[in-house]
């Protein structure tokens, strides 16, 4: 059961959530369109699928279909990161909430570390 509380604090700027909503929807829609286009292109050309999809190698894919699918997956993967970046921007510039801006920055650092660890591993 949630605690009943008298805390009412200051409501956060609702524009932050609105911006995140737009970022997530744009990223999702864009990536799904690319995935559809990639699948259709791949099925239409009926070539052998030879996939080498280490990060950022999607542009060197051997066919248009594979490149589009790889790009779609990459954009989908980066969509939540863009969401956090937009939150950080709003908290820092509009709300001037430095404490929680630092929290968002830490999460982004951990995500960046994941990329580095993957490449180094």
């Amino acid at each position: 059961m949630p605690e009943e509380t008298e805390h009412r604090g200051t409501p956060a700027d609702p524009r932050t959530n609105t911006v995140v909503k737009v970022v997530l929807r744009v990223g999702l829609t864009g990536s799904l369109l690319l995935l559809v286009a990639g699948l259709v292109a791949q099925l239409a050309t009926a070539r052998h699928v030879a996939v080498d999809v280490r990060m950022f190698h999607v542009f060197g894919a051997p066919s248009l279909g594979e490149a589009l699918m790889g790009l779609g997956v990459l954009i989908l993967t980066l969509t939540p990161v863009a969401g956090i970046l937009s939150v950080l921007g709003n908290w820092l510039l509009r709300e001037r909430d430095r404490g929680f801006s630092a929290v968002a920055a830490i999460v982004l650092v951990v995500l960046a570390a994941a990329v580095i660890v993957g490449f180094l591993g």
Partner: protein
């Protein structure tokens, strides 16, 4: 560095793409109707039915988790039920766990992942059966519906918004309160979070009341979130089955806020481990693309059609299926059966 190159014949690709699309639609639909993530269906299906490498299956499932999170997360975030401050504070622990899970997954033998997955599926099945039986007893409190917040019951959303926020803004409050109240009154939003704290409020349309909350016992959230991230990175599941109870029961966050916040979180968590899989070459678009597309379509159809199906009955059926599949995964881990 592991370098995965998959070569698939065109005919096989066409057939498999259609089958994978169907699997994604089914997993997304089931997830929306029953209330679980698609990972528990997708990973075993890819490993046992399609014969894909476990780590490629986990990576594809994580891509589907991101798609699900972006779709449902955007809806909840727009309504104001997602508490972004709470989400990102817990994400510090969850992303570290997800990163650790991704590293462990690429280092250990796939059969170990199969074994752990089987065990987690058994636990999920048990939790589903337990949750459904509580639901059947009509235990609304057990299901997590919060009690009305003190002195905040209002006859309409507009009244709740203006009344609640008038008290909320207080001295020093800024113009955001007026804007938030207007958005709630217009029906565009149902909630808001508190600036500078892990709290907030939302208008419960079903019960006609304003619920005000503030999270407590952050250490519980961090501890469980780390474990959830670890399992997510290792097994390709969202981890919401751990995060939601931790936020609701451990941190006293209303169940609706916990579920909405978890929906946003699972996508970020999946990305942490997905980066590791990506850089190691385990994300295969010809598997991930149809699965992600299917899950997005299936989740949409499931959300629209959920009232036509008995979630309780489907949950029981799914629990039985999960037990069967868990045994198969365990047998595969032991080398008794092969995919």
């Amino acid at each position: 560095m592991v370098h995965v190159v998959a070569v698939v014949h065109p005919h096989v690709f066409t057939t498999t793409a259609v089958e994978l699309l169907g699997l994604g639609i089914f997993a997304g639909w089931l997830g929306a109707v029953v209330g679980i993530g698609g990972g528990v269906v997708i990973v075993p299906a890819l490993v046992l039915a399609f014969g894909f490498d476990t780590r490629a299956a986990v990576a594809s499932s994580l891509v589907a988790v991101v798609a699900t999170s972006a779709a449902s997360g955007s809806a909840y975030t727009g309504s104001g039920q997602t508490n972004m401050r709470l989400a990102l504070v817990l994400e510090i622990a969850t992303t570290v766990g997800g990163l650790a899970g991704g590293i462990v997954a690429v280092l250990i033998a796939p059969k170990v992942i199969d074994g752990v997955f089987g065990a987690v599926m058994l636990v999920t099945a048990a939790l589903m059966l337990r949750g459904r039986s509580e639901e059947g007893e009509g235990a609304e409190e057990a299901a997590g519906e919060p009690a009305p917040a003190t002195g905040a019951v209002a006859p309409s959303a507009a009244g709740a918004a203006s009344g609640g926020l008038a008290g909320a803004a207080g001295p020093g409050g800024h113009g955001a309160s007026d804007e938030a109240a207007a958005l709630v009154a217009s029906g565009e939003r149902t909630g808001w979070e508190e600036r500078g704290h892990l709290g907030g409020a939302y208008y419960d349309l079903g019960h006609g009341r304003l619920v005000v909350y503030r999270a407590v016992r952050l250490w519980i959230g961090w501890a469980v979130s780390f474990v959830a991230g670890l399992l997510s990175g290792l097994l390709g599941v969202g981890g919401g089955f751990l995060k939601v109870p931790a936020m609701h029961l451990g941190m006293k966050v209303p169940i609706k806020v916990a579920a909405a916040t978890s929906n946003f979180m699972i996508g970020v968590t999946a990305v942490a481990s997905l980066f590791v899989y990506f850089t190691r070459g385990y994300v295969l678009p010809f598997i991930a693309a149809p699965i992600a597309l299917g899950v997005a379509v299936g989740a949409y159809v499931g959300a629209k059609s959920s009232q036509h199906f008995s979630g309780r009955a489907l949950g029981r059926i799914l629990a039985v299926v999960l037990v069967f599949v868990a045994v198969q995964m365990a047998l595969k881990a032991l080398g008794i059966v092969s995919a």
